[in-house]
């Protein structure tokens, strides 16, 4: 009796505590998420009400004219005639049921509107992040290995240029050069509506349309990553463990990938988190310049149209994305550097 008891008992204290820690961490994170969402809802709900005018006034303005009776009827329909506290209570009640509300302006549920636009934004952001990270790592690495030489000077100058130039201007210049002059790429939009492509042709068509906006959106962060990589690589290459690896006779690619790059990537991952968190904000200009049917533009228009249900919905969704990205960044930290432990 005692032997199996002990045998069973020995791993027992460790297993539940590891699983328990994981469960606790997950629970903590979910609570964190709920708190963030609630905070975003509360702050934005009341902050947005500070803007003069409401959705009814915008609608009347766009319609060209209206009567006071008509505007009052619209307000009653939208629930805008009720006290703010009641409106807020109703909003929270809906939110608790995962209902983001209704956009009266678009005549559609907010969730549906967001759902239609999310894929375009994710595609654009994903492409921009991949472009920025890949190009940044390559350029930064090149610059670090050629530190002080011509290649380094060129890359650093380029990075500075993209770091300092406004996004929309870069976008417009890219359009002028690659679309209007060279006629290589389309001016904007997400795909060629007139052509009605399907299947692979459609995918290629979207890819063609994706190049300029993704590059425009990615260039700033590419510059950031280049500078970060260059500095981190130079730093890491001086470390003892790199010298040891070289002394052991490790080949150059292995030193680069296993020793230097892995350690130099940490600051870049932090910035990746920042970049991914700016999904909506960063996309507004690029989506406008390139007529990209994404979430950033939708948020921007919702603000000007006082379509607060929609705007709140978008802000909530982006806050969820930001929290999720931070979790991913944390996980990547642990993968890259096992010494880092999550609390």
């Amino acid at each position: 009796m005692s032997a199996p008891f002990i045998a069973a008992a020995a791993p027992a204290p460790a297993a539940p505590s590891r699983a328990g820690a994981f469960a606790r961490a997950t629970l903590r994170r979910l609570l964190q998420l709920a708190a963030v969402v609630l905070g975003v809802a509360v702050i934005n709900f009341f902050l947005l009400r500070l803007a003069p005018g409401d959705a009814v006034q915008v609608l009347a303005g766009e319609a060209g004219a209206a009567t006071p009776e008509y505007m009052a009827a619209l307000r009653a329909q939208f629930g805008l005639d009720q006290p703010l506290a009641v409106q807020f209570g109703k909003y929270l009640l809906h939110l608790a049921q995962f209902d983001l509300g209704y956009s009266f302006r678009h005549g559609m549920p907010v969730a549906q509107l967001i759902g239609e636009r999310v894929p375009a934004t994710l595609l654009l952001m994903g492409a921009a992040i991949v472009f920025a990270a890949v190009a940044g790592v390559i350029l930064g690495t090149l610059a670090a290995y050629r530190a002080g030489r011509l290649a380094d000077a060129l890359i650093s100058a380029l990075a500075l240029l993209f770091f300092a130039t406004p996004l929309f201007w870069i976008g417009l210049m890219l359009v002028v050069v690659f679309s209007v002059w060279l006629d290589w790429l389309p001016v904007g939009g997400m795909f060629t509506v007139e052509a009605g492509y399907t299947g692979l042709a459609h995918v290629l068509d979207v890819a063609r349309h994706l190049v300029l906006p993704a590059v425009t959106l990615g260039l700033f962060y590419m510059a950031v990553y280049t500078r970060l990589m260059r500095a981190a690589m130079i730093e890491v290459r001086r470390q003892d463990f790199v010298r040891t690896a070289v002394a052991k006779g490790a080949r150059a690619p292995r030193v680069l990938f296993a020793h230097v790059l892995r350690n130099a990537l940490l600051p870049l991952v932090t910035m990746l988190g920042v970049q991914a968190s700016s999904v909506v904000g960063g996309a507004v200009l690029v989506e406008t310049v390139f007529s990209w049917p994404g979430l950033g533009r939708l948020a921007f228009e919702a603000l000007f149209q006082r379509d607060f249900n929609l705007l709140l919905g978008i802000l909530l969704c982006s806050s969820v994305v930001v929290v999720a990205v931070n979790w991913i960044v944390d996980a990547v930290y642990v993968r890259l550097d096992p010494r880092i432990r999550l609390r």
């Binding site: 803007a51 303005g61 060209g64 209206a66 006629d183 001016v187 904007g188 007139e194 406008t288 049917p293």
Partner: protein
């Protein structure tokens, strides 16, 4: 209208016209037109919202009862004939037979009656004045509509196209919540093109209606309306041929000059007359210093409207001296008090009114708010600031977004001067009188009487014009109205605005009437040689300047 285009564009247009004439043109069918729609419409029927993008789009899906030709004369559309009774209190429409809604149901007088009673009279933003006096509507048969008015309402005839009076299908709307009816966003009309798809923030597509009553039309197979929010992108898309048609001054005025020189593009200024837009400055009459007429006169004398047109609007306009624009020949009168550019006189008037220059040379410090529809309006505000600085009035130009602007001017009345444009339409009763009628002051209704002008005499003129049975008398009343308001000066008309369309040189016959911009593209066709040049890919453009009505 040609005289308003630049000379260069004129010559280019003339050269093109010669070429076209040489080919001699019978319309050919086929082709996809990519048009730029900007900003994105709120809904897709102008029966419920008369914003410019909605009107421009939805005329292709819906027909009006009539169309207007190039002289403001009525042309049959859904109605083949119409007549007013002798006392002008009964209007009878004889509808076209055999017209079908896009879902196959027949179009009948019941649709017109239902729309008039439930939409034009109750919801349509501008028609409540026009149809407010309707006592009853009879439909003796499926193709006759008889409208009875309690008082004559002659102005009705000026607003019967699809923008002024769009007919909705009764069978899809009756008994529903009209404002939230799903068909508002997937419209079913009788027009030349059938609605296919609306991808929000992206595009709207239409296809040719094979059963259209006007046999042989439309010529185009498909129209793609693309949403292109950025003006630079619009210019690039047009230049590259990714879009071939863009209305409502889609690119900045200085870009327009450049684009007009390109062989593949042309600038078109016809088709906007029915809108009769004028740009003006509302003076807030609640402010003590503007209660003195001499101060308002001084403002008028201080602004050089010719220079304003040339410098700020690149000549895309004509100096205005009345709220009724000169293209409405019947109603317009130049016999109103004139305020030529005369800063000396302005200064004298201000001195007289007791606003002497202070130690720093300033008489008065005021705020100016401009309609936030883009750069042209900002520069308009800056031009006025410079003009008034010369006579010792210090102007602070304030920027904001549209809801803030309309609330400030029409609700809170927290402004001194406000720069805005209105559409006057074909009859001053529809678009002009709203700027001067005292009934709407301070009720927070956008695009109403912003100056807060209350004149019993003016109100009476407006009311008489509403119910006069004689067109001659109405014209006389509106001429009096122009004299009255130009004497009282609650606002300063500065410019008759001339909008323009940028379109591909290969796109023909886009203009058929003074209301073309709110009319369908059923007459438009591609000259074959050029169509292939304007092939694939895609983006487009339009001016945030023209969101209104």
């Amino acid at each position: 209208m040609f005289k308003h285009t630049t000379l260069r564009a004129w010559l280019a247009g003339a050269a093109l016209a010669l070429c076209a004439a040489a080919h001699a043109a019978a319309p050919t069918s086929g082709g996809t037109l990519t048009a730029i729609l900007q900003p994105e419409p709120v809904i897709l029927t102008s029966a419920l919202n008369t914003a410019a993008p909605t009107g421009f789009f939805s005329a292709n899906v819906f027909d009006g009862l009539v169309e207007y030709d190039n002289d403001f004369k009525l042309r049959p559309a859904l109605a083949e004939r119409w007549e007013f009774s002798k006392d002008s209190k009964t209007l009878t429409f004889h509808l076209r037979r055999g017209v079908k809604w896009h879902d196959g149901k027949p179009f009948t007088s019941a649709d017109v009656k239902w729309t008039l009673e439930n939409v034009w009279k109750k919801i349509h933003p501008r028609n409540q004045i026009l149809y407010g006096k309707v006592t009853s509507t009879d439909t003796p048969d499926d193709y006759t509509v008889v409208i009875h008015f309690s008082e004559p309402s002659l102005a009705v005839l000026s607003s019967l196209n699809s923008n002024g009076a769009q007919v909705l299908p009764k069978h899809l709307y009756e008994g529903t919540d009209i404002l939230n009816n799903p068909y508002n966003n997937k419209p079913v009309g009788t027009g030349p093109f059938v609605f296919k798809e609306w991808s929000r923030g992206n595009y709207i597509t239409l296809e040719r209606n094979p059963d259209y009553w006007d046999r042989g039309k439309p010529y185009l197979d498909k129209i793609v309306f693309k949403i292109v929010p950025d003006a630079g992108a619009r210019a690039a898309a047009l230049e590259k041929g990714e879009a071939q048609y863009a209305p409502f001054s889609p690119v900045p005025l200085k870009d327009a000059e450049r684009l007009a020189k390109l062989p593949q593009l042309k600038l078109e200024t016809r088709g906007y007359d029915w809108i009769s837009p004028w740009l003006f400055v509302d003076i807030n009459l609640d402010k003590p210093y503007f209660k003195d007429l001499r101060v308002r006169q001084a403002l008028a004398y201080a602004i050089d409207r010719n220079a304003f047109n040339k410098v700020v609007w690149y000549g895309f306009g004509k100096p205005a001296d009345s709220p009724v624009v000169s293209t409405l020949k019947q109603f317009y009168t130049a016999d109103v008090p004139q305020y030529g550019f005369d800063p000396k006189k302005a200064e004298a008037l201000l001195d007289e009114a007791g606003f002497k220059r202070g130690a720093d040379g300033t008489r008065l410090r005021i705020n100016l708010d401009y309609l936030p529809y883009g750069d042209d309006f900002r520069r308009s505000g800056e031009f006025i600031r410079n003009s008034l600085k010369r006579i010792g009035i210090d102007v602070n130009v304030r920027a904001q977004d549209t809801p803030t602007y309309t609330k400030r001017v029409y609700g809170d009345r927290d402004f001194d001067l406000s720069v805005v444009w209105f559409a006057g339409f074909a009859d001053p009763l529809v678009g002009v009188t709203r700027a001067y009628w005292s009934d709407s002051v301070g009720k927070n209704i956008p695009w109403s009487n912003g100056s807060g002008y209350k004149s019993a005499e003016t109100d009476k003129l407006i009311e008489q014009a509403q119910s006069s049975p004689s067109q001659a008398e109405r014209v006389a009343l509106f001429k009096k109205l122009q004299q009255r308001v130009q004497t009282d000066l609650p606002s300063l008309p500065l410019l008759e605005m001339h909008f323009f369309t940028v379109q591909s040189s290969s796109l023909k016959d886009t203009v058929a009437g003074v209301d073309q911009i709110y009319s369908s593209l059923k007459n438009a066709w591609f000259d074959n040689g050029a169509r292939s040049a304007a092939a694939p890919a895609g983006v487009n453009a339009a001016n945030p300047a023209i969101v209104q009505r």
